[in-house]
């Protein structure tokens, strides 16, 4: 069996952002469900948090190919 270890590393690196995205949107949905009028306040924060978490996952993806 042949393959590259980089992909195993990427798989491990994707666990963290996966959990992070889940937590962010869990908190966002919770907040909007409790207080629907807070949606416009929460939405930018949720998207920025999502962007930061997703950036790490994509960074891992790109480095898996570059290195």
């Amino acid at each position: 069996m042949t393959g590259t270890l980089n992909l195993v590393g990427f798989g491990l690196a994707a666990i963290g952002p996966g959990i992070a995205t889940g937590l962010i949107f869990a908190a966002y949905i919770n907040g909007v469900a409790r207080q629907p009028e807070a949606r416009s306040v929460l939405q930018p924060i949720a998207f920025l948090g999502f962007a930061l978490a997703e950036a790490l996952a994509l960074f891992g993806l790109v480095l898996a190919f570059v290195l």
Partner: protein
């Protein structure tokens, strides 16, 4: 870094399913245009046409069961996707979105229909062409609506940004709009179908391989088949979801091109 692992049983080892399992041989002779996905494509067109012609032929005020089924699919795409997303000009795009949705849905569901069991969209060229059609449609609509110059200017230079930041941002906007969007649209559908079919192959072929082993392994193989059956239902969910998401994103891109500011 490349690694090599030797499997322990070299002789009668389990051959794991790979991307080679998706390259099916031609059915008639050497002609590469007669492979299974092509036939599934034509079959899907025949099935969809037959279903909706039958459903709409004897349209009545009190609908028959068939008419109700056809109308509920149509209503789902028309009201749930086109009207909610695109807004007041939605009626022009309903035929396109409806064709896209039913075509992708039927082709995906072929992946779990017994005897057919191959999702057409797990061959990359089909999603590429579908994404290309979406790409052409939404840029055409945008240019037609706003004029070529204004349309491209709005994509490239968003207002309210310091001038120096355009060097950093404009390439990203161009790349996102003209390369990454259609590419991810195609790859998302392809990757979901490919990975789903591979997953089913792993469990079904693995169960079959366990069945040929010693008695202890034979006892485990029902679990592998059981997980395979559970995953088949899971795959059905994924296939419907992917057809929905593809159509939803197509509608969102059209809506974005129609809107004056994104």
């Amino acid at each position: 870094m490349r690694v090599q692992l030797l499997s322990e049983a070299q002789g009668e080892g389990f051959v794991p399913p790979s991307s080679g399992d998706f390259e099916l041989p031609p059915i008639f002779g050497e002609n590469a245009l007669t492979t299974k996905p092509i036939f599934l494509l034509f079959l899907s067109v025949i099935l969809i046409s037959a279903f909706f012609i039958l459903a709409s032929r004897k349209a009545a005020v009190v609908p028959s069961k068939l008419q109700f089924a056809g109308e509920s699919v149509y209503g789902f795409v028309r009201n749930g996707l086109a009207r909610d997303v695109i807004g007041h000009e939605f009626l022009r795009f309903v035929p396109y979105l409806f064709t896209l949705f039913t075509f992708i849905l039927v082709n995906n569901v072929f992946g779990i229909v017994p005897l057919l069991q191959f999702p057409t969209m797990s061959r990359i060229s089909f999603p590429y062409i579908l994404a290309l059609s979406v790409y052409l449609v939404f840029h055409y609509v945008g240019i037609r609506k706003q004029g070529a110059f204004k349309y491209f200017k709005e994509i490239m230079f968003m207002p309210g940004v310091p001038k120096a930041a355009y060097i950093l941002i404009t390439p990203l906007e161009i790349l996102t709009f003209f390369v990454v969007r259609p590419l991810t649209l195609a790859l998302r559908l392809f990757a979901n179908m490919f990975a789903g079919h591979l997953l089913l192959l792993v469990f079904i072929l693995g169960g079959e391989h366990l069945l040929q082993g010693v008695i202890g392994l034979k006892l485990i193989s029902p679990f592998a088949f059981g997980i395979g059956i559970v995953l088949t239902f899971f795959e059905f969910m994924v296939q419907c979801l992917q057809a929905y998401i593809f159509t939803l994103l197509a509608a969102l891109y059209i809506a974005g091109a129609l809107a004056d500011e994104h």
